[in-house]
Subunit: 595 residues, 2 copies
Amino acid sequence: MPSYKAPLADIRFNLYEMLGIDKRSDLPEFANLDRDTIDAILEGGAKICEDVLAPLNQIGDEHGCVLENGVVRTPPGFKEAYKTLCEGGWNRLSAPEEHGGASLPILLSFTMTEMMFSANQAFAMYPGLTNAAYAALMGTGAKWMRDHIASRMASGEWTGTMCLTEPHCGTDLGLMRTKAEPQADGTYRITGNKIFISAGEHDLADNIVHLVLARIVDAPAGIKGVSLFIVPKFLVNADGSLGARNTVYCAGLEHKMGIHGNATAQIVLEGAVGTMVGQPNKGMQGMFVMMNAARLGVGNQSLGLTEVAYQNALAYAKDRIQMRSLSGAKAKDKPADPIIVHPDVRKMLLTAKAYAEGGRALSLFCSVLLEKVHHHPDEKVRKDSDEMLSLLTPIVKAFLTDNGWQATMMCQQVFGGHGFIKEWGMEQFVRDARINMIYEGTNTIQSLDLLGRKVLGNNGATLKKFGKLVAALVEEEGVNEKMAEFINPLAMMGDKVTKFTTEIGFKGLQNPDEVGAAAVDYLRVVGHMVFGYFFARMASVSLKAIAAGNTDPFYQAKLQTARFYFAKLYPESATLMLTARAGSKTLMETDLALA
Amino acid sequence: MPSYKAPLADIRFNLYEMLGIDKRSDLPEFANLDRDTIDAILEGGAKICEDVLAPLNQIGDEHGCVLENGVVRTPPGFKEAYKTLCEGGWNRLSAPEEHGGASLPILLSFTMTEMMFSANQAFAMYPGLTNAAYAALMGTGAKWMRDHIASRMASGEWTGTMCLTEPHCGTDLGLMRTKAEPQADGTYRITGNKIFISAGEHDLADNIVHLVLARIVDAPAGIKGVSLFIVPKFLVNADGSLGARNTVYCAGLEHKMGIHGNATAQIVLEGAVGTMVGQPNKGMQGMFVMMNAARLGVGNQSLGLTEVAYQNALAYAKDRIQMRSLSGAKAKDKPADPIIVHPDVRKMLLTAKAYAEGGRALSLFCSVLLEKVHHHPDEKVRKDSDEMLSLLTPIVKAFLTDNGWQATMMCQQVFGGHGFIKEWGMEQFVRDARINMIYEGTNTIQSLDLLGRKVLGNNGATLKKFGKLVAALVEEEGVNEKMAEFINPLAMMGDKVTKFTTEIGFKGLQNPDEVGAAAVDYLRVVGHMVFGYFFARMASVSLKAIAAGNTDPFYQAKLQTARFYFAKLYPESATLMLTARAGSKTLMETDLALA
């Protein structure tokens, strides 16, 4: 069975040395937080992930969820673990105190969710989706919804879902058919079929509140006629008490490649009672709040899987002996060397490590942006942070999940034949990681969102702001010889990305398919620039600590990982720029090839 | 359920137009073969794959194999399908007539196995391993083994296995512990534990003949003390009749990520009676015959999966409507366009198509080399062919299986959320493809075999011979303007690979870890050079057909695929050369990072 130990040293490095959260005064949530308090939270959270959730991961995969007579049973142990999680308040670290939360920075929620996803992605999705639904209700829901529904989501008594997809429409929500008929009492009767509803039905909570996109009768066609509703499994009276069973049912569970422990439900609405959230025909506004939260969450899922896969592959590579090192026996007392002596085994391990550490730095940086969006007193800071977060969200979602796929596969490869056997648990990480590239908007959709909307959509203005962060670091460290190995490639990439973006922008004006042809490659190039920035910053912080006499080997380790990243992963951008520049012609003029 | 239609047009293009097998007189097996005969064989083989094997693929995945009271039951339908296959002689197309075979060129066996792997990899492994064991016995077995055992493997009455791996040794067979005690009658008593034995126990055949590597008592340590034995499940008397049950048992079946329909057995030998094949302590010689056949077979497995995944993704992309084309609505009569209008969907499809077609060209080229090794009258041709095949074998194994992993994943991605659902069958292709990168020598081992042994081991002499093929094509087509788009990148790559190889060779002399650090990248670079060569040749043949007035759209389609390949896949080598050149330092000087 795989094991998991929360990477607290690297988390602390990010919180304290990269983000300085114990020292900042610009955000109310950071006040009164000292290192001892934060450390205690980290350690408590780590403990529940390591001891309660991780041991259920393979059990969840093996048993899956079972639908019998309309009731969905989650895998053995999930119910008890969910109770433990909620009783400890670990599901609501950032919720306000009136909802029983600890009003902690979103940063700490992100850290907690990363650990939960490492331990058990399928389990962690239940509270994860609830948090996304909570965010949507807190953002656009009426007061009674916040008071009576959101509060119970925060406590974990009730859970939430996102009901978007229908059999004929996933990406293209404008094709949606589920219909909402207005009733005299202000509610709606909702009828339709939803599929792929994660955590759609289960036995963990007393009520499930579905956030459902539907089309009011006579609404405009397409996406501009879609409204958002809450459709609780059990109706909720105005005073918050539970009413009758609503006519929303689980018609079946999907059999999937991975995340077996999460119930992926087909949901049938048969004139179910729904209440509108927000304004008519503006359903996507509320849903976007949820989707953006969910997209950051999905990136975090693959970050978690990358980390746990790395840890287990590292342990195996040190333990398994096989063949001698090409440069001479290393473990002369043994019949063979541990496989970690082999360069390519190290490459696979370091790839996972670098993707985990780069992903963590980016993800936690984003969590501070999200904090600012919600809580910063200065409106301009809120707006700027929102813009930067919008730019980075598709990168977190797509770059971290593509990286997670590669990393979990490589960690599985380290195990040789044993990696293919269920018992070792490595193949589950790969299967679980696969969905993260698909749901909450496929990674192709993320790349179009980045290039089309977030970059070209405002003439590169937000990208330039990120470029300024890069330029500032380059300027600050440009004369530091010890930083040259990190700063030089970063500076070069900054210039290349600017030129590359302009080029694609021009080509896209002539032919929009050029944008579609370049977008996936473009996202990975920008992803590497962003990771390059964070690795350079991490190297800078580490060099300063070393210069100040800190002898913790953590800092040398960080420098080694950064060097590996720039030498072996960052150059992927060379090919990506070539293939993006090759344009759309060899894709679009292929009707005979694709006949 | 996925469907499968054998790609006969592309197979015929390779057989007739690329390899000219209906016109060559240098090989005895090709004599008396006309197109009608070959076409009839192709169509008959296609039919059994499409109609009998493909429909069992998901059933095999769902049911898996079951061990009860020492008996392994294969999935429903496998037994009947195996009978149909063997009765039709489809399992032994290239076996000699005295073994009931058709003495057909190995080329046609390769074509048949590609189709079988497309239809049902887990099933096709039963006869596949038998063929590898057959080759080993025909190569190094005593006459009675060829007459009484190999003949029944050819008929399919009996099957074969390869028993190499033990719990503590996979790659490093020198660590092997299974021991063989010589008996007075010339046989051996063999005792030990073998794991990961594909087709190790099942109900398809009357007898299973294990080819077992073991160490004779007092043999030299390491790989030079390993001998090869046959250990039949039921003993075989000198006249070929069946004797007593041997003490070789299936102790368990592995639960795996994929290929559920194939029984991956733990095999326990409890003083089982074995007979030596070949010479004492020279077991690897016989096993290498088998392993090389198996490595080509594994490449073919991923070629088959790439093809079938592509076919299903293409059909889905034409059928599924979602969003409008960025360059304006294409299917104006529908509420959205088929997703094949989107550039990145086309890129994913074309990647799979190009990897399938490049892989097929290479694989069938290798099958002619293998034919020459076995049957060419001129010893020099046999030797040269063997050398070239040795160079290309690790490329077929690793490049085609890495490509197959990427291609099946992309084809799954085309299905969006549906790709993650078992019902659609796409996720099975990915899971099944995964093992091909691991077994028969991991892809890292293949890369070390290529760079260390096959290239640097003879100072690049064999690689230079392949380089001469490239140079000849460049010279032949260098003045043909229509070929410039294919020939120019190929010529450039040829030069780069020469320089690149020399560089790594020099660095490797200083530090052997440089070879280990570069090998995986190197294999993919050479893989692209090889694919580039075949795509250029395929383009040349196609342009000639078009110039000759042939209006079959197949040729234009081939040109489009070749253009795509050079524009979008071939440039991967740019990054690979950068990362290989970055050397071993950032891998090896990372003890703190990997602490």
